[in-house]
């Protein structure tokens, strides 16, 4: 469904990501792991055409359902973003306008995608929050972002991203800002999205435990290039790549290595 073919992404003249390729089938979850600055976020931003500050894909191609995304006009992007491909950010609270209620932001979001009245959009938003198992949906619609906890804000972000039942969901460090128990809830919810709606998901994360739990495929990145790539069992147990092993060994584990 999604094919990334040997892309190179440059900011200015300097290539940040070089020769990156991956494929994703419908209903698969893939994760990009690596240390900070390895180019994980750049890759998924390139997929959505959201490279900041003069970034561009200088080589290669990105195909979504067989059609190249790189030649898209702004109008075509508008149709695609939020309906076919959606994104969840590290802190969905930062994506919401802090001085407007969740509901107002949500209504605006819905009304940029379809022509319906504000009342209908409000209803649709509330229904969506309920579908994502947020208790007291009407209450949340009336709240300001700062009144919600980090986990609730993240669920609002997921609800907004899932409104139009996208084929592809891009998640940029969706659980990094959350507590461990909330992280487990969000991870589980994202896996349920895949099981219920068949959504394909690309997760960018530095948490190898989360990546291992969620993904069918794992891509390990380092300095803008693919260091290692394969299905979960391969990466976790059979990979002979030294860097992958270093990363895996560094993950603290209960009952694992003790330093004292």
């Amino acid at each position: 469904m999604l094919e990334i073919k040997n892309i190179t992404v440059c900011y200015g003249d300097r290539p940040t990501v070089r020769d990156f390729s991956m494929n994703l089938k419908q209903g698969q979850i893939a994760s990009l792991v690596g240390e900070s600055g390895s180019g994980k976020t750049t890759v998924i931003r390139a997929v959505l055409g959201l490279l900041p500050g003069g970034g561009r894909v200088s080589e290669g191609d990105i195909l979504f359902d067989g059609k190249s995304l790189l030649q898209n006009t702004p109008m075509e992007w508008r149709k695609l973003r939020g309906s076919e491909i959606s994104m969840i950010f590290q802190d969905s609270g930062a994506m919401l306008n802090p001085i407007r209620r969740i509901g107002d932001g949500f209504v605006e979001y819905i009304r940029t995608h379809e022509e319906i009245s504000k009342q209908e959009a409000w209803k649709k938003g509330t229904a969506m929050l309920e579908k994502m198992r947020l208790a007291g949906a009407e209450n949340i619609m009336q709240s300001y972002p700062f009144q919600l906890s980090g986990g609730m804000r993240q669920r609002v972000g997921i609800a907004m991203a899932m409104t139009y039942d996208p084929k592809l969901l891009l998640a940029d460090e969706p659980t990094s800002a959350l507590d461990v128990t909330t992280q487990a809830q969000i991870v589980r919810q994202m896996m349920e999205l895949r099981d219920t709606y068949g959504t394909s998901i690309i997760v960018v994360t530095h948490n190898l435990g989360v990546a291992a739990y969620m993904s069918d495929n794992i891509v390990v990145m380092r300095r803008g290039q693919i260091e290692d790539q394969g299905d979960r069992a391969h990466i976790l147990s059979h990979s002979e790549n030294a860097y992958t092993r270093t990363l895996l060994d560094a993950v603290p584990s209960l009952g694992g290595l003790r330093y004292v």
Partner: protein, 324 residues
Amino acid sequence: MFDQNEIVLEARHVTRRFPTASGKLLLANNDINLKFYKGKTLGLVGESGCGKSTFMRFLVSLDTPSEGEILYRGQDITKLKGEALRQNRQNIQMVFQDPNASFNPKMKIRDIVCEPLLNFGRIRKGEKDAACRRLLEMVELPGDFADRYPHNMSGGQRQRVAIARALALEPEILIMDEATAALDVSVQKTIVELVTKLQREKEIAIGFICHDIALVQSLSHQVAVMYLGTIVEVLPGEDLWKKARHPYTRALIGSVFDTHMDFSVPIQPLQSEVPSPLDTPPGCPFQTRCDHCTERCRRERPTLKTIGQGHEVACHLYNEEYKR
């Protein structure tokens, strides 16, 4: 398991309330009793907002508790003022989560790590170069980093500088507040290795605040689990995952994503969220999220009971006192 004569710092009945705009009181710390032993690490785990940083701030005298005392070598440091307070700061130092925010960006590394030494007259200005080199070597950084600015360094290197600065005065106690949370796992590992090595060499007592229970158990001699301002369980770090009893500790352990876990078993996260510390109900603080909640839990607050060697738990499910 710990020598009672080796207690360097002890918190007794520490309670902290913050007044809020609505006139209510926010109970951030509720009757906390903890002991720090020479050369040992106490790990403090809990979710954000549970009061772990509030507590650690008392230890470094950045804030004072509403009630209770903190004894450093028998002296209550919460009552210190003026020069006595300043002198006491040499004994207890801190490493913060974000080294960027805790350094002056316009100071060179040499000035950053030598500032405490100059403040307490331990060295003269002419000795800065040698002192800085010695401190950087201690944290395994090249000596020529002295001329760099914090922005010229990576996150891991900056955290090493922060450790060098904190240990410059050779304190007996080091408080690390989420000191590895902003780092990549591989860098986190090297920092943990460095800290544990320095601890063995210098016999420092460490207070390690962290939300990652897997990391905490890997480096702590004793672990305290905190929930809504209350310590719910204290136990030795080794075998924590086998011996932990409190339902909240078990839930934390159940939420850890591990690369060695069985992926076919769905993870069982705690549903619901932490209640607001503004209106903590009577009874057990964990009652709203606990699967084993009974009538008694809603009525009566459980107190810490010793159920094993160095193992205390505050839960009505565990009542048999441990006999020595």
